[in-house]
Symmetry: C2
Subunit: 219 residues, 2 copies
Amino acid sequence: MTSTPTDDIWEAMSTARTIRRFRDEPVGPDVLARCIQAATWAPSGGNQQPWHFVVMTSPEAREALAIGAARALETIERVYRLQRPEPDDDTPRARNSRAMFALHDGAASVPAAVLFCVRDQPSTPSLTLGASIFPAMQNFLLAARALGLGTCVTGWHVGSEPEFRDALAIPEAWRLAGLAIVGWPQGHHGSLRRRPVHEVASLDRWDTPLREGDQPAEA
Amino acid sequence: MTSTPTDDIWEAMSTARTIRRFRDEPVGPDVLARCIQAATWAPSGGNQQPWHFVVMTSPEAREALAIGAARALETIERVYRLQRPEPDDDTPRARNSRAMFALHDGAASVPAAVLFCVRDQPSTPSLTLGASIFPAMQNFLLAARALGLGTCVTGWHVGSEPEFRDALAIPEAWRLAGLAIVGWPQGHHGSLRRRPVHEVASLDRWDTPLREGDQPAEA
């Protein structure tokens, strides 16, 4: 049971796995506000805090979620060539895939969703702009994990910006950066699958893997 | 002393303040590897893990840091109209500014620096691409904070991409996303300054502040 609440940072970070199945139980605004407060503790360029968080619960907001999810699912099906698994297929892959389809099909009734927006800065490259919003999103996800909530980051807003902007009255100057689905997890879930450090980290030259025990050059 | 090591996620997140002054003490590769492992626990689009982390310690790497910092400083001085504080000015503002200048002046001899790279995905908007690297950077910063390290995120790479790419042999298909300076903090430091949740969070409509105790609409 890796969804047990925990205050231990190492446990929270190493078990903050994507959750796609939620119990039919509301997520209170007080809990969400606590996660959003954690989001605001993140760094941002020049400590400008160019962020805004929108909790999506209204019928109009849920309609935008449904539209965004349906479009995102079309793309996922095409790009990853995914098909709905047969009802009697109980392999881990089929169960995973089934949860993914169910999440998208039920987008309008997810327990909670939070949209992460960032104020545009014309002189800042778009990728760099992300440094002022995604650290906040990660803090949000970790706080949620610490409280025992499950989260799933989706790109439902990417192909449906007009619908999201309209439903939530998002000002022109703000960009839609990320969307997190939040809820109390259903069942338990396994551990993270990640590549090891020496495959993804280098010491000084790209082709030189970082290994513990390496001695860096003197400053 | 908010730089004391801690395993408490709330303490780590709420005290992970930018640090610009470091003790003259190396940061071992084992410690950096531990922070990078925490980085890999972050989510990424489709769990593709399109990240690569480069620890910068060689003379060539440090030369790139120095060039990048000098250019970044020019921009900061111009945009924020900053001037070097008078030697006898001991206001918090002057101390802050002095630390900022000192960090840039001494860029070539920072204890450690880690460059966060993300593999380009032509069909993904640049802002969205950030969702697959900056959560990892935030995990790195939090792990560093938990271990008692101080960090400072900079944009030194932004105006000096060719120099960074050259020094570290970064492949064409990878983009430079973020740069973190890491070291054992000198002295202690104050608490975070952040706007309160009700100023940065909305319930359903942009102009409706989220307040604890709000009752969301039923799903």
